[in-house]
């Protein structure tokens, strides 16, 4: 289906783009369709050893003793490490990606010290000459545990008499520790404005509901991996699949107590991340095993059960929402209470969820309270618009119910309350040029919104259509890039953002557009921590924005240098040289970029340039989705019949990859909405640690997904870019819940909306 691209103002002085907006072939494409691309687990080095991790069989236990002697004696075993080999890291917090990291917790998560805090928590690691010998060695390690009672959900963990995970944890109450009582509540934060009592008194209708959502995983197809060589000179090289090579370098430095300058992180091709491949897991262990095995390289990669048990997931949550509105459709008050599971260590995305929950709307009276709570599950990590999907599930369901109670069309109701440029969000910032209303318009005008629903296939099949909206912050951040201009007219372009979904193409397109040259004449490569300047990671929907801005400024630097070369050639002042596309001219004299490149040698020799930026000016992404569902009221199964997602992307640099981000976000959102969840037994064992039992959508579960690209350019970016990747996962759960309501008359307040939970809501079980 041809996508609808809505063009608004274009910041091109009336001229069309030459490269931007084209659907070019990605530069890394051939390697990826022929199997040649080198991902983290594909690293092969001379003398390579294989590492494996011994993990806790308990959700909560004290480690009494570890005996590794038998494992060490097994032929082929070269090194064994336990928590004793890892000097505790400093108890300090630093920014990491869009969130933050406490190195002490990160270190304890990598390898347990005195306690294990979740099923799958690493307790020891082995390096051996084969993966099978390493596995045999794990079985020979004897660990004595004192099993402790686990706490497995957020409400239990918040109780006064709950088992305590971290004895030193104290609640940060609005930023300050006010009590010395041990607790599982790491923090309570609040956003408030106006007067709730006044707002609710003014309301003609009030809706109040409580929502429960379960733990879900990012589900990248490539398991975590890491290969490390701790050389005899003290230099550490790490090859890994990471979203943030510089974040990893810093984390390794803090955990291993080695200066940054001694660590080189080489980001390999990465098989998905969705936020979950920022933190280190195996890399520090591989480095320690390398050191202990006599400086041999050690490769580690996780099995899928390890990925599910011990990496990533995002928080289960309990969210209470109360909203009131007048008959004319104006929302008068909005209140939310969010409690998110952080897993074993503080750091759930509750803060982000607090910002997302009411973000699309202009609110005068609002209060949002958020709690970050530790439980005996793996430490929660970022997952695409972290904390946003569950927050929007709650907020947008209540919005839908308010519209219904007022007898208003759900899009009309949202438009009445829609935030626009200049409005202040509940969490503080004032909106720049957002395109929320434009996405409402796009869906309202879309044929999908007006198409009759299909006839139910059987009397027990019910069909319905739902709408929901979503917000994501987007991030700008720091980016560096460098370029070599070649005599044949091409530009070798080194950038530092891990390419997780085609950004080498979009960044090369922006550099080509700036230089006025063909896309094929830009040769992009992803650098590492030693070959290119600092880059914030590939996350926060920042790459096309921040690294795109670096590409633009890199192009401007190249143009400045090229003008100087033309000035030398023609013996005229560089400032007087005119540049139009790829043509440099002075009076009657003219020379193309390519021709000038051939004269580099005689005009000053080789040319290379670099830029490093701390970019600002990201503008949030907003989206409106509409979905048709079919509910089998006999089995509780929900089928997605049709899905349309409209999103303000600022500017679609490569429309195919923009659509791809929207498709992928929607698909993950559908999985979260309908199937995906962690099942724990009462003792805290994860019972569905496989991709058969942790059921992500297959090709057979989904229809085609129509992405409607809305372009409201970001005035802060040379090409109008806003972030794209995260917001599409925010609305789906709410949109599907609202569609189920329209089909069945039942409001869903639990995720996932799987057959069991749907039948329960229908009162059938």
């Amino acid at each position: 289906m041809t996508p609808v691209i809505k063009k608004t103002e274009a910041k091109t002085n009336g001229k069309p783009f030459k490269v931007i907006g084209q659907r070019v072939i990605r530069p890394d494409g051939v390697d990826k369709v022929t199997g040649r691309a080198q991902y983290g687990a594909d690293v092969i080095l001379p003398g390579l050893l294989y590492g494996k991790v011994l993990r806790s069989p308990h959700a909560h236990a004290r480690i009494l003793s570890i005996d590794t002697s038998a494992a060490e004696k097994l032929p082929g075993v070269k090194a064994v490490i336990t928590g004793k080999d890892l000097k505790p890291a400093e108890d300090k917090v630093a920014k990491s990606g869009e969130s933050s990291v406490n190195y002490s917790y990160l270190s304890q998560n990598v390898l347990a010290q005195d306690k294990v805090l979740y099923h799958g928590h690493p307790v020891a690691a082995v390096a051996a000459t084969s993966i099978h010998i390493a596995e045999e060695a794990l079985a020979l390690i004897k660990v004595e545990y004192e099993v402790l009672p686990p706490v497995l959900n957020v409400l239990d963990a918040m109780k006064d008499d709950a088992p305590i995970l971290l004895p030193n944890l104290r609640t940060k109450e609005l930023g300050e520790v006010v009590s010395d009582k041990p607790t599982n509540i790491a923090s309570h934060e609040q956003h408030a404005r106006g007067d709730l009592a006044v707002g609710f008194a003014e309301a003609d209708v009030i809706v109040e509901r409580e929502f429960h959502t379960n733990t879900v995983h990012q589900g990248y197809i490539e398991p975590q991996n890491g290969t490390a060589l701790w050389n005899a000179d003290g230099q550490i090289t790490v090859w890994t699949s990471t979203q943030g090579a510089w974040d990893q370098r810093r984390d390794l430095s803090e955990i291993l107590h080695v200066p940054l300058s001694q660590i080189r992180v080489i980001p390999m091709e990465i098989g998905g991340g969705f936020g979950g491949k920022f933190p280190v897991y195996l890399e520090p262990l591989a480095a320690l095993l390398s050191l202990k095995s006599g400086h041999r390289p050690v490769k580690m990669w996780m099995q899928r059960d390890e990925v599910l048990k011990a990496t990533g997931p995002t928080s289960a949550s309990v969210i209470r929402v109360k909203m009131g509105a007048r008959k004319d459709g104006k929302i008068t008050a909005a209140q939310a209470w969010l409690a998110y599971e952080a897993g074993a260590f503080p750091g759930s995305p509750v803060g982000a969820g607090m910002g997302v929950i009411f973000a699309p709307y202009k609110l005068d009276n609002v209060q949002i309270d958020g709690y970050d709570v530790v439980v005996n599950k793996p430490a929660a990590k970022a997952y695409r618009a972290p904390g946003g999907t569950n927050a929007a599930f709650a907020g947008e369901t209540v919005i839908d119910e308010l519209a219904e109670k007022l007898g208003m069309d759900p899009i009309t109701f949202r438009r009445i309350n829609a935030a626009k440029e200049g409005d202040r969000r509940a969490d503080g910032p004032i909106y720049g040029r957002i395109g929320f209303i434009e996405t409402l318009d796009a869906i309202e005008k879309h044929p999908h919104y007006h198409a009759p629903l299909p006839e139910p296939r059987a009397p027990y099949m019910k069909v319905g259509r739902g709408v929901a909206c979503g917000f994501w912050y987007n991030w700008d951040g720091k980016s560096s890039a460098s370029a070599v201009v070649n005599p044949d007219g091409t530009v070798s372009y080194l950038e530092g953002s891990t390419d997780i979904g085609g950004t080498r193409a979009s960044l090369a397109m922006m550099l080509a557009e700036t230089l006025g040259i063909h896309y094929e004449d830009v040769k992009p490569m992803v650098g590492d921590t030693q070959t290119v300047g600092y880059n914030d990671g590939t996350g926060g929907s920042r790459t096309t924005y921040g690294s795109g801005m670096a590409a633009y400024h890199l192009g401007k630097e190249i143009i400045r240098e090229m003008k100087q070369r033309a000035a030398v050639l023609w013996e005229v002042p560089a400032d007087d040289i005119n540049v139009e596309g790829d043509v440099y001219s002075y009076g009657e004299k003219r020379i193309t970029f390519k021709e000038l490149c051939a004269k580099l040698d005689e005009t000053g020799g080789p040319m290379s340039v670099s830029v490093s930026l701390d970019t600002k000016g990201a503008i949030p992404a907003l989206a409106t989705h509409v979905v048709d569902v079919e509910v089998d009221t006999e089995t509780g199964k929900v089928n997605i019949l049709r899905y349309t997602a409209a999103q303000d992307v600022g500017r679609a640099i490569h429309p195919s990859y923009v659509e791809g981000q929207i498709h992928g976000g929607v698909a993950q959102g559908i999985g979260w909405a309908l199937n995906e969840e962690y099942y724990y037994d009462k003792d805290g064992h994860l019972m569905n640690a496989s991709l058969l039992d942790y059921r992500m959508p297959t090709a057979l579960d989904l229809p085609m997904i129509e992405a409607v690209i809305v372009e409201v350019p970001n005035p802060n970016h040379p090409f109008g870019v806003k972030g794209v990747g995260e917001v599409p996962i925010v609305p789906p759960a709410a949109a599907i819940a609202n569609a189920i309501y329209r089909a069945t008359g039942v409001r869903m307040t639990v995720l996932p909306m799987n057959p069991k939970n749907v039948l329960q809501a229908l009162g059938k079980i």
């Binding site: 659907r23 369709v33 199997g35 899928r304 990859y657």
Partner: protein
């Protein structure tokens, strides 16, 4: 230490011999012994399809086949699907249609899709979705993958007709 077995198989039209332990999977042999790392390990238990190869004309997950079972077999991996010149229509359409994002599942999808088109040169969208339900992709929502397979099928039919 288990006894090692000498195995000879035809892999991508080349005769290859390797020594393998009975506990090694075909995937492990392909990746760690023969260094054919195009087949990916996503789950190691047959749930994700990233390690798909064609063995004696049948699509299999190489993580569920033992290396010793490959003795005498003809195996095609992603590396063997690439023709001497240019790309296979599936590879070409995956690129043109932007049917990959991170690309880790791509070799498995292309191998699986080839196995489908070898049997059914004119599949419906539903048939493509059904066949590819054994391959997981977390990036694309399958939309562009399904289109690329349908487009490649059309190209292959046109090529066959022209021939």
């Amino acid at each position: 230490m288990s006894n090692k077995v000498l195995v000879t198989a035809t892999i991508n039209d080349e005769e290859r011999s390797f020594v393998c332990e009975p506990r090694q999977s075909l995937l492990e042999v392909l990746r760690d012994v023969l260094h054919l790392t195009g087949a990916k390990e996503g789950c190691n238990n047959g749930n994700c399809g990233a390690c798909a190869v064609i063995m004696n004309g049948v699509l299999v997950n190489s993580c569920l086949v033992l290396g010793v079972e490959a003795n005498g077999a003809a195996i095609t991996t992603i590396e063997g699907i690439t023709p001497k010149e240019g790309l296979h229509p599936l590879q070409q359409k995956f690129l043109e249609d932007a049917a990959l994002q991170c690309g880790i599942c791509t070799p498995g999808f292309i191998v699986a899709a080839k196995a489908l088109l070898d049997k059914n040169p004119n599949p419906t969208e539903q048939e493509v979705r059904y066949w590819l339900a054994g391959n997981l992709c977390r990036c694309t929502g399958y939309d562009k993958i399904v289109r690329a397979v349908l487009d490649a099928a059309a190209t292959l039919r046109a090529e066959k007709q022209a021939a």
